[in-house]
Symmetry: C2
Subunit: 242 residues, 2 copies
Amino acid sequence: MMPLNGNEGIALYAQVREAIREQITSGKLKPGERLLPEEELAILMGASRMTVRRGILDLIDEGVLYRRRGVGTFIAHRHIDRHHNRLTGYFESAAEEGFVPRIEVLLREITGATLMVARALNLREDEPIVRVRTLRLADDQPLAVHDEHVSYRLYPDILDAGIETRQLWELLSERGDPVRRAVQRVEARLAEDEIARLLGVEEGAPILYKLRTVYSEDGRPVEFAICYNRGDRYSLTTTLTR
Amino acid sequence: MMPLNGNEGIALYAQVREAIREQITSGKLKPGERLLPEEELAILMGASRMTVRRGILDLIDEGVLYRRRGVGTFIAHRHIDRHHNRLTGYFESAAEEGFVPRIEVLLREITGATLMVARALNLREDEPIVRVRTLRLADDQPLAVHDEHVSYRLYPDILDAGIETRQLWELLSERGDPVRRAVQRVEARLAEDEIARLLGVEEGAPILYKLRTVYSEDGRPVEFAICYNRGDRYSLTTTLTR
DNA sequence: GAGTGGTCTAGACCACCCG
DNA sequence: GGGTGGTCTAGACCACTCG
């Protein structure tokens, strides 16, 4: 472990974190081996113990390291294990997973909130909302139908903003409501007439049905989506921690 | 915000965190309002700024607070928003969600790893594994069929340990491999003959199909499960963060 | 008892945002 | 320019684990 070279503009704890990560990915530190104690790392890297510690804690959070009190900090096996709980847009996901994304707008309207939508968005029933129904295609094959809802009062001009090529909440971010987290629930269902037709599957084909509420930084719900995903082409991965 | 009373044995930052949380849940601090600056809180609560900060950061992680650089720390709306990414056992979940859990062991055997199992557990194909198939019931209604797999070499005596009433990985924890995280993938599928019969549904009924690999603290995969969940009774909730 | 991580302090300087 | 959070320091004491 060498002293850190002066990467100016990057926080020291981040440099510590990446230096340790580099030692692992380069194979100088192997799974199961013990990391040097915080104190020694601090001296070697020319940082305070608290700073080294912060870098280490980041890596523990990622599952790259683990520690046992009174014993030491160790390199975990299988640090391939990414977090799968990042909120990403359709185009981002496509870039990561390597497919060509396309979105077709099937419907856009201003209508009254159903009870389910109203509850999710913290509105009263029948309050005006913008509803956009889109078909999402991956490599030109239908993947999902989304029904997205936002409050019309909060975002009266959202329909003019190029929904064809952007995820709705990317637009919301630019309007001063940066989305920060989402809660989604999935179920298995069967395709019914219209959804089956749109997705190009038989009626009774399996559908991963997903309800997603997206919250802005300040904790307000800003978007609610009902998603019908083709069971044969769509799966969802999650990381759980104890 | 009062000075902390001497709750001995509890870390000061945790007391800070809970004191702030209490101010929010009791309504003394309302959504959208600004929290006192770190410096002032430190003085009021009789702790150092770094300690107060740590408590605040915990709450930000939970989505209870949010902050803007150079501006302040604010109380988020809707702090109902729990993290849904906690790895819990069937009996824990039942206690939280309020149903009566029951597990019936359908099959237990020592067999060779299929390719899928071997890949997940980092073994070679045909290496001996313990396989346990269980039926999980909620309020005496079938909910899911699980096929759980662990390495026979690592846990030769796992079959003697009361799988009927315990989740497999709870036993693993007691054997010195505390489970720490899991990665699971879900898809929608249709029930086929045997699974349909076991779950008490028609063939072609929707099934939430889940593959779950559970990792121990040190990052080794310790358990791999294939789960068939009844689509009409089972849903899965996840929190995503940006 | 020696070594480790867990907590905590009382400062400090900086970057950012606002009026 | 004044207030905020973001980073960083150089110590300190404690709790836990292990031989």
